[in-house]
């Protein structure tokens, strides 16, 4: 479990952008919302890289830019400056359609509020990204995932017939079904009780350890962040630190420093 070397290193140049083990990297990212005197600088030059098969948490106080960073890394939003590369593809060179297709094949999402389609069954929700792309469903992989998330007896249930934890497990399986280069989690445990939270986090951990999945998760819960290989701290739109193999204490220390 601890055998994964983790680097979350600020990179200086783009020359070796795709050379290393980094699956996702952001270079000199800035993001400004609004214009003129009311403009807000959400990101003020962030350089990050996430290696294949690592689990990273992004933390920071409200308004630190962590959600903005994740949205930009995931190709949901475009930076004002700098660029993002996912699995060797520069996102700033893609038009909206190609960006969509890249998201479809290379990016998985787990949202805070599950975001399942109520009209589809659990299994149909899991395979949705494949079917949107018109791709064939790999039955073996689907069965593996459903078994892994423990929904074998809930395949045909609709979201309204599932608990919050079960719904989020569906969302995890959905994020993994395309074997994406990276899965982003946006406060994936934010709506769950502590038991369900634990289950989901362990599920994500296993995805990294057993399947070699890369996961980047935004959270404000230090307990959740301890399951990650490392934590990137943001403050005022900048990376304020990186913590490898975090513990509750180190995280809380960092946060205290960050907000001080």
């Amino acid at each position: 479990m601890s055998a994964h070397p983790l680097t979350v290193t600020p990179r200086r140049s783009d020359a070796d952008g795709s050379a290393g083990a980094a699956v996702v990297q952001g270079h000199a990212l800035t993001k400004r919302f609004g214009a003129g005197t009311s403009a807000v600088e959400a990101l003020r030059g962030v350089d990050v890289a996430f290696d294949r098969g690592t689990f990273t948490a992004i933390m920071g106080p409200s308004g630190s830019g962590k959600s903005t960073l994740m949205h930009i890394l995931a190709g949901l939003d475009r930076p004002t400056g700098g660029w993002v590369e996912i699995a060797g593809t520069r996102l700033d060179r893609l038009n909206d359609r190609d960006l969509t297709l890249l998201r479809r094949s290379q990016v998985g999402f787990i949202f805070q509020s599950y975001n399942l389609l109520p009209v589809l069954s659990a299994e149909e929700n899991i395979t949705l990204p494949l079917r949107i792309g018109g791709a064939r469903v790999d039955r073996a992989w689907l069965d593996t995932l459903i078994a892994a998330v423990g929904l074998g007896d809930r395949r045909t249930h609709r979201p309204s017939e599932l608990s919050g934890g079960q719904q989020q497990r569906v969302a995890v399986a959905r994020a993994l079904i395309t074997r994406p280069a990276v899965v982003f989690g946006d406060e994936p445990t934010g709506n769950l009780d502590s038991v369900s939270s634990r289950e989901i986090l362990e599920l994500m951990r296993r995805a990294v350890d057993d399947l070699g999945q890369t996961i980047v998760m935004v959270t404000h819960d230090p307990a959740a962040a301890t399951i990650a290989d490392n934590v990137v701290f943001l403050a005022d739109g900048r990376v304020s630190g990186v913590e490898e193999r975090p513990t509750i204490d180190t995280i809380l220390d960092r946060l205290r420093v960050g907000s001080a």
Binding site: R104, F109, F111, N115, L117, I132, T178
Partner: protein
């Protein structure tokens, strides 16, 4: 509460606007109907007032009733002098009014439905003409025409033209161009004014006039002069003051508009309003469901149920008022549209200035606000049922279905009532207007019941119509179908809105096809004439024409059909059955095959004084069987008694009762037949024969010569024109339902913002999202299309069943119905354009995080 209502409408501007459109268009149709009919009436009043300017007394032949068939009753011209000598009369003049068209360069200028009039010139003070150019006719062979006719035909003073008449075409010279007083529009009517003696001579009316006008001497009131005239002139003349004559004629025109045009237009407006009501109901239902937490919050901070109700009610009233005011203005546009529609259909109806009469405003507002409020009532009551605790709960509860047993009972009750009304309308006895009203109300209730129960059919129907889309769009299609069945009640009402329009179109299509087939079938089976000669506008043909064709080489028989309305046994005239045919019975046998119920061709020889052959419907209507005696009264009041000697069946071509020509002339003042039927000699060249007949009738351009097949085709085309007019009026309902589809899609998209965001995040392209919305829309509209076709065909089937005596068959016009489904697809696709665009444009980030 009202402030909240205002603000919440302001916030949902698009939704408010779309909902408003639903009611706006319905109100516009109602208002437009009134505006248009007011315009028509104003124009006729204008014409009547001009015609009667300077007329203190009007003297006309007394009538028992007014026949729909044009027949000239005349007065001996010597009466004019007698009238002039009556004390109190200053001047009197004889008027001659006939039908006749202008012939320019050998081409006859014939308006389609509007009258082509030839009028004898009268002197002052009765002359209503105002010269625009040239002078008034003073010598034989001189005429003037109305300005529009001159403009349309590019005529200038001095031009040589012709005038058609009962005796053929007469050459004339145009000496002037006139306006009819200050009348703004005579519609498509054309007017030729010639010296009275010419009009008399051309139409074999020497020594006769059609009416007499008189002016009072100074100091004599019109009323006193009329009393004097009544005392001095025979009882066979009806004498009125000019004012009374104008008022009577105006009332008659108003009645005839009120008898057909207005109710038909209002019925179509009603359909449009029903569609609007469905849409308003749906919109309010959805928004009330979406605003559950808002209502709960209001309740939890102390608002009473009544206040919540008042809040939603206020929104409905406000919406109704604003939409109705806009609808009233739209009514002016709709009136213009109607006018253009009538003109396009060739009905040149005169039209005065547009005006929103106070009555129109009151009706428009009352109907618009009333319908909006009624449609919003149920959702508003639902809003009051939201418990305050719902404010604290996360989930948005589904729209409550209401206690299902009570609901089922209500649906059943409405359904039974609807069917009862339909049956009463279709099979009941009583006045046609009452039965039509019952049918209309019954259909309305049937529509409501289908809308209320359609929710149960949404799932299977969506599976049915969604299947091709799923093949086409795969996941997108599948999601679209799932989405459309997510809230069956909502989909059902949205589809029901379209159903109404589609059902009425299908109804018209099926009936029209049945009627066409019935007519063409009747012509095939009953008629054996080689040629049918009629006018295109239902006017009689010159009686002189028969002499010209009867003795042509190759012609074996040429016989005429005279037609007029009659009263039977003193009862009111029934439009469908109460007409008398004047025929030459033996000649008729050559051009027509009787289908006898009682009797045979032998009886035709006995058709003489006191004998009549009755058609089945006529016999049924009056309870007359063969051997029974009955009394017929013509429009002039002439009465004769007949015995039914035989009974036949032909509800299409020769309705009513048949008597021989001498008996007909005793009953009716009509001197000209409605049609000629020509049979060629066996083995003669039909083509050559037809050309000879055509050449012989060249002097009577109104007489159109057609072979049996051509006549059949022409009838079909006439019916088609009417059908297209009905379709055009129904288009409004379909357009309104399109707004309804757009509206409910917008509302659904609003609800599903987060889902759409997720779809985009996991890789659905904007195009896929657009397609999904479009497919969902098409599935909904196809459900409406299928329901509409089923309901429309069923209603048509019921109707043909009810009138099967009239020979209208039940034929399902498959191509038209398929075209209707295509129309439904188009409606769905167009209705989805804006919502689909919005769904695809959603900002993914906002969508994913939206509450």
């Amino acid at each position: 509460m009202i402030a909240i209502a205002l603000r919440s409408m302001g916030q949902r501007r698009l939704r408010t606007a779309l909902t408003a459109v639903a009611i706006l268009l319905g109100v516009a149709m109602i208002a437009g109907t009134y505006v248009q009919t007011d315009q028509i009436r104003a124009a006729f009043d204008d014409i009547l007032q001009t015609a009667n300017a300077g007329v203190d007394a009007n003297i006309a032949p007394r009538t028992e009733f007014t026949s729909t068939f044009v027949s000239t009753q005349t007065i001996d011209a010597r009466m004019v002098r007698r009238a002039a000598r009556v004390p109190g009369v200053d001047r009197a003049a004889g008027e001659v009014f006939q039908m006749g068209s202008l012939v320019v360069d050998g081409r006859t200028v014939a308006p389609n439905f509007a009258p082509a009039m030839v009028i004898g010139m009268v002197g002052e003070p009765f002359n209503p003409l105002k010269l625009v150019a040239g002078r008034l006719p003073s010598a034989s062979g001189e005429i003037v025409v109305n300005r529009k006719l001159a403009d349309d035909e590019h005529l200038t003073v001095g031009r040589r033209v012709g005038v058609t008449s009962r005796t053929g075409i007469h050459p004339a010279r145009l000496v002037g161009i006139v306006d009819f007083g200050n009348v703004a529009s005579m519609g498509g009517a054309t007017m030729i004014v010639a010296p009275t003696s010419d009009v008399q001579a051309w139409n074999r009316l020497q020594g006769k006039v059609t009416s007499i006008v008189a002016s009072a001497a100074p100091g004599v009131t019109p009323e006193r002069m009329v009393r004097n005239l009544r005392a001095a002139l025979p009882r066979s003349l009806e004498i009125k003051t000019g004012q009374q004559a104008t008022a009577d004629a105006s009332k008659q025109i108003n009645d005839s508009i009120g008898a057909f045009l207005k109710p038909v237009l209002l019925a179509f407006s009603g359909a449009a309003l029903l569609v609007g009501a469905f849409i308003i109901f749906n919109t309010f239902s959805i928004t009330v469901a979406q605003r559950r937490r808002e209502f709960a919050l209001l309740r939890s901070i102390g608002a009473t149920r009544g206040q919540v109700l008042a809040g939603v009610g206020a929104e409905a009233v406000l919406l109704g008022v604003v939409a109705s005011i806009a609808g009233l203005l739209g009514g002016l546009a709709f009136s213009k549209l109607l006018g253009a529609l009538f003109d396009a259909a060739g009905m040149g109806i005169p039209r005065g200035a547009m005006e929103l009469a106070p009555r129109t405003i009151v009706i428009g507002l009352a109907v618009g606000v009333g319908v909006t409020l009624a449609a919003a009532l149920l959702p508003a009551v639902r809003a009051t049922r939201v418990p305050p605790v719902a404010a604290m709960r996360e989930e948005v509860a589904p729209e409550p279905a209401g206690t299902s047993r009570r609901r089922a009972a209500a649906v059943a009750l409405v359904g039974i009532l609807g069917v009862a009304l339909l049956v009463q309308g279709l099979f009941g006895s009583g006045a046609a207007s009452g039965r039509l009203a019952a049918m209309g109300a019954g259909s309305l209730l049937v529509f409501v019941v289908v809308a209320m129960t359609a929710r149960h059919a949404v799932r299977p129907l969506a599976a049915l119509v969604g299947w091709p889309l799923e093949r086409l769009g795969r996941t997108t299609g599948e999601l679209a179908r799932e989405n459309s069945t997510r809230n069956p009640a909502r989909t059902a009402i949205t589809a029901a809105a379209l159903m109404v329009g589609i059902a009425l179109v299908a109804f018209v299509a099926v009936l029209a096809d049945g009627m066409k087939t019935s007519f063409t079938g009747a012509i095939d089976q009953r008629a054996s004439a080689d040629l049918v000669v009629t006018s295109d506008n239902g006017m009689p043909l010159p009686g002189a024409a028969r002499d010209r064709i009867q003795y042509l080489p190759g012609v074996s028989t040429a016989t005429a059909q005279y037609l007029d309305q009659v009263k039977v046994n003193g009862k009111g005239v029934h439009a469908l059955t109460d007409q008398v045919n004047g025929v030459d019975a033996l000649a008729l046998r050559d051009v027509y095959r009787f289908r006898w119920i009682r009797g045979s061709d032998i009886e035709l020889q006995r058709l003489g004084p006191g004998a009549a052959i009755v058609e089945e419907q006529f016999a049924k209507q009056h309870g007359i069987s063969v051997g029974r005696r009955f009394r017929l009264t013509g429009p002039t009041g002439h009465t004769a008694t007949f015995t039914a000697i035989a009974e036949y069946r032909d509800p299409q071509l020769l309705q009513g009762v048949m008597v021989d020509l001498a008996q007909f002339r005793a009953l009716s003042p009509a001197r000209d037949p409605m049609a000629y039927f020509v049979r060629f000699l066996h083995g003669s060249d039909a083509n050559a024969g037809r050309q000879r007949v055509q050449a012989a009738l060249r002097a009577f351009p109104a007489a159109k010569v057609r072979t049996r097949a051509e006549y059949s085709h022409w009838l079909t085309k006439q019916l088609d024109q009417l059908v297209y007019l009905l379709y055009a009026l129904l288009a409004m309902s379909v357009v309104i339902s399109m707004f309804g589809i757009a509206n409910s899609l917008f509302l659904s998209i609003h609800e599903r913002t987060r889902e759409l965001g997720m779809l985009r995040a996991v890789g659905a392209t904007a195009g896929q999202v657009r397609r999904m919305v479009r497919y969902e829309s098409v599935i909904t509209s196809l459900i409406g299309g299928v329901l509409g076709i089923v309901v429309g065909v069923l209603l048509a089937w019921l109707t043909t069943f009810a009138v099967k005596d009239l020979g209208v068959g039940f034929i399902v016009p498959v191509p038209q119905l398929v075209a209707l489904l295509a129309l439904a697809v188009v409606v769905g696709a167009v209705g989805a354009i804006a919502p689909a665009r919005r769904a695809a444009r959603l900002n993914i980030l906002d969508a994913v995080h939206s509450e």
